[in-house]
């Protein structure tokens, strides 16, 4: 088994866990019980439309705009209100209420960010907020950027995907800070859950379009 296979298998196991997502515990339990350390075969992330639509909360579809390719992601773990998702190429995206707070495996990762302020502004129908976003620079140092962000409601804008249309309201977040300006767009369904977004990661990693199923 390749290293990649092992890693994906480990994450696939984690993704099968309960709400606390300690799924690698399954693998570890196996090891503790003396079973062979060999991990199960790589789990394909080719997911059918039926699976996507029939298992709400299980999958995310992400388009890494700089790569112009869609990837299906599954849950890899969660920590408090934050969930980390992983695709078949070992790229992870961590979100809180749908707002991206970290990535790993992209050419310029977002190492960490705040999301509570933005989420509160969206829930309030708009507002301004200050957010810090950390990047990893070419010298392995953290490059922190404090962004001033304005969130505005842009009204109703239904989302269509896989031949289905969902009612949604659209919000735009425009942020600027030292040497960095970006804008994110969020679509929320009537129950207040984010079902689609277009979010900036970093200058070198570009934007992610995220569809949450």
């Amino acid at each position: 088994m390749t290293r990649l296979g092992l890693v994906v298998a480990a994450w696939a196991l984690m993704s099968c866990g309960d709400a606390r997502n300690d799924g690698i515990g399954g693998q570890v339990t196996g090891l503790l019980l003396g079973s062979d350390a060999e991990a199960p075969a790589r789990q394909s992330l080719n997911v059918t439309e039926e699976d996507l639509l029939g298992n709400p909360g299980t999958y995310m579809r992400v388009n890494i705009r700089d790569r112009n390719r869609w990837e299906t992601m599954v849950r890899a773990g969660s920590n408090g209100a934050r969930t980390t998702w992983i695709d078949g190429e070992n790229i992870t995206v961590t979100e809180e209420n749908g707002i991206v707070v970290a990535t790993r495996g992209l050419p310029r990762d977002m190492m960490g960010a705040e999301a509570t302020g933005t989420w509160n502004a969206i829930r309030a129908g708009g507002g301004t907020v200050q957010r810090q976003v950390d990047f990893l620079d070419d010298q392995d140092q953290i490059l922190a950027r404090v962004l001033q962000c304005r969130i505005v409601s842009e009204g109703s804008d239904p989302v269509t995907r896989l031949q289905r249309t969902y009612p949604a309201s659209r919000f735009k977040e425009e942020c600027s800070g030292e040497g960095l300006s970006l804008s994110n767009i969020y679509w929320l369904n009537p129950s207040g859950r984010m079902i689609r977004s277009l979010q900036a990661v970093s200058p070198d990693a570009g934007y992610l379009q995220i569809d949450v199923f």
Binding site: S78, T94, M111, A113, F135, I142, T160, R161
Partner: protein, 707 residues
């Protein structure tokens, strides 16, 4: 189609200005390999951290140049030239002489709105300095495309249209006495003799193409030992082309009659081509439930330690980490592991800690991470599991975790339960090609050697390893055998190296038994016995004192060695030379990427002296260093070069590929290597083994802990 419409309709802006990610295109580089016109310098500097390699050719002069912008204002240059020189009597031309040279340039004034940039420089400033020149130059840009340069030069740069030196006390330039030692600072020559004006224009047509016109103050006049290069006219014209940002090609019509070409290649140590790396994402932290966090102990029957060890071995292996030992208490897990994958030990520790959150019982709150190399624990880095849970993916997590982390000497081996794989292969071997390029032959010859090498090692214990290498040369170019001994008073500890292993049969490069240890908390030891290097065998012993949290280290090395036979077999009969050699060494990390090392002691030829080394190390692992050795040997006995000096460059593989890897591409560019100031080349010197798991080095790459 809906999706395409969605993408197309989402107009986004993501703009980064200066700071952090900006990448400037370097200035134009001259045929002499420094920012310049065609042969003349300009006052412009490259971006700090730029390394530029240049190859240039004009009839009678081939140059290989490395230029490095150390700070915003200061740059240094090392140059190998293959040049035709007039002989002592100027009666004939000696072809293809190898000359080495160094330049320095300092920008005195940055360019302003109205004021030009002004710089002062020394070209080829060591004796004999076939191109020795000094200059003051000003450069002003007009708009984005046009720059104008004017300057005044001395030495070679004062030979075309020269006039009396405005520094009247330095009116006459001495003539270098070929009997004097070379490699000396030529300060008696600097800014002496006639001066002359030079200048030129550069126009950048677009991002790729530019044109240059130059009025040169180098006449290339025939003179004893001067470059035999012809120049009918001071006017030269050229075209530059950049097929990529990192490459510059130049084509020039020089001095009215000569054609010249050059290629320059740029790399900026601050701008990693692989950005922040392409390695796979780590496993997320597995956060404990509130109740699990409250536990003060764990059930050793339900989850026996042996099972945890085996689970951690398997999960660390996914990350290229080899678990070698583990100790557990009710609340603490101490793990020792070998990092085989990540350049940054901080990243290896981050990956290990994440895996531990997956494996360890909830009661385990404290993780002690001990990196191991050569069988010895290098440090103990203690992190709290609750910090990992609270800080994952949070802003400022890197700084906060660092502040909450304790760095100390590795714990005792006693207490650790071994997790070493009893079935792991103890005998390892591999075959690889090799290529060595030695431009520092005693009489200036170039030597190239290529072939296959067989490396093998056997591990008697984690601390005791027998290793060796056998080389078979397939292609060897020695311009000629080394000259007769020019320094009879000194043993030929290095100047005979051209004789070593040149019989075309397999040779034993090294075969030595090495033992590493940690006799005290901050003290490390090494003993190496056998055929230690190509030219010497014997015993080498070393002690190093280096506290984990200190930027300072002290070492002592004592060796007793004999010179090997030049057939590089097992014998020591040919030279009948034995000597005691050793040094006291001090190491200091100044911070901000500046490191120094001072060695005091006795060198291989029995001479006493010191070596000073200075390194600029970037946090991403790129390193540019320089060293110089001076001993009590008289210059005339030293051999060519007067003293040993050189430039060291190292570029980690992950800098270029983005794939995690601990290997480094490195080379040492020496000027001539004399018999004085020569040190034993023994593997595994301790400072290099231990430092990258100590606090200062870990803090340099701590940003990768969370990656």
């Amino acid at each position: 189609m809906k999706r395409a419409v969605f993408l197309a309709s989402s107009a986004m802006t993501l703009v980064l200005g200066t700071g952090g990610f900006a990448q400037d295109v370097p200035p134009t580089y001259s045929l002499y390999g420094t920012p310049g016109l065609l042969e003349m310098p300009v006052a412009t500097t490259a971006e700090e951290g730029t390394l530029a390699g240049t190859l240039s050719y004009r009839d009678g002069l081939f140059q290989t140049v490395l230029n490095y912008q150390l700070t915003d204002r200061l740059s240094g240059t090392m140059r190998y030239s293959i040049v035709d020189l007039y002989n002592d009597l100027e009666t004939s031309v000696i072809e293809n002489e190898l000359e080495r040279g160094f330049d320095l340039k300092y920008q005195l004034v940055e360019e302003g709105t109205y004021a030009p940039a002004i710089a002062v420089g020394l070209r080829d400033f060591l004796t004999p300095g076939r191109f020795q020149s000094e200059y003051i130059v000003a450069t002003k840009s007009f708009g984005d495309s046009l720059t104008v340069t004017g300057g005044i030069g001395w030495g070679e740069m004062g030979t075309e249209g020269g006039f009396d030196n405005p520094i009247s006390s330095r009116a006459d330039r001495p003539v270098f006495d070929e009997a004097d030692p070379d490699g000396q600072l030529g300060s008696d020559y600097w800014f002496t003799g006639d001066a002359a004006f030079f200048g030129g224009l550069e126009y950048q047509i677009n991002d790729r193409w530019g044109v240059l016109a130059e009025y040169s103050s180098i006449a290339y006049d025939p003179a004893p030992n001067a470059p035999a290069v012809s120049a009918d006219s001071p006017y030269s014209f050229g075209v530059t082309y950049r097929p990529r940002d990192a490459v510059q090609l130049s084509f020039a019509a020089l001095n009215g009659q000569e054609l010249a070409i050059s290629g320059s290649f740029f790399l900026n140590a601050n701008n990693r081509p692989s950005l922040s790396g392409f390695e796979a994402a780590p496993v997320p932290i597995n956060a404990r439930s509130a109740s699990a966090r409250q536990a003060t102990t764990w059930d050793r029957n339900a989850t026996p330690e042996a099972a945890l060890r085996s689970a951690l071995t398997a999960t660390l292996a996914i990350e290229g980490l080899t678990l070698t030992g583990m100790e557990m208490t009710d609340r603490t897990a101490r793990v020792r592991f070998i990092n085989t994958r990540y350049r940054s030990n901080a990243q290896a520790m981050g990956r290990a800690a994440r895996m531990m959150t997956q494996v360890m019982p909830g009661a385990i709150e404290v993780f002690v991470l001990e990196a191991e190399a050569q069988g010895i624990g290098l440090s103990a880095v203690t992190v709290n599991r609750s910090d990992l849970e609270a800080l994952e993916n949070r802003p400022s997590a890197t700084a906060t975790l660092f502040a909450n982390t304790a760095f100390a000497a590795a714990g005792d081996d006693v207490g650790l339960t071994s997790a070493r794989d009893a079935d792991a292969a103890l005998f390892l071997w591999g075959v690889s090609p090799y290529l060595t390029f030695d431009p520092s032959g005693g009489d200036g010859d170039l030597s190239v050697d290529a072939g296959l090498r067989l490396d093998a090692s056997y591990q008697f214990s984690p601390q005791l390893i027998l290793s060796g290498a056998v080389l078979q040369s397939a292609l060897r170019f020695n311009a000629e055998d080394p000259d007769p001994d020019s320094t009879p008073d000194l043993q030929n500890v290095r100047s005979d190296r051209g004789f070593y292993g040149d019989d075309g049969v397999p040779v034993l490069e090294s075969l030595a038994l090495a033992h590493f240890g940690r006799p005290g908390g901050d003290i490390y030891s090494r003993v190496s016995v056998g055929y230690l290097e190509r030219m010497f065998g014997g015993i080498s012993t070393e002690l190093l004192w280096k506290p984990v949290d200190s930027r300072f280290g002290l070492g002592a090395e004592m060796n007793y060695v004999a010179q090997r036979d030049s057939d590089m077999g097992f014998g020591f009969d040919e030279y009948e030379y034995e000597t005691a050699t050793g040094h006291l060494s001090a190491y200091y990390d100044f911070g901000n990427g500046y490191h120094t090392q001072v060695d005091l002691g006795r060198y291989l030829a029995g001479d006493w002296g010191a070596t000073l080394r200075f390194d600029r190390e970037y946090d991403n692992g790129v390193r540019v260093g320089a060293y110089v050795s001076q001993t009590d040997t008289a210059h005339e006995d030293f051999g060519d070069g007067s003293y040993n000096k050189g430039i060291v460059i190292a570029i980690p593989q992950d800098f270029l590929t983005g794939q995690p890897n601990r290997d480094t591409y490195g080379t040492t560019l020496r000027t001539r290597t004399g018999d004085g100031g020569a040190r034993l080349n023994v593997d595994g010197r301790l400072y290099g083994v231990v430092r990258d798991a100590h606090q200062a080095d870990l803090s340099d790459t701590w940003g990768r802990f969370w990656r």
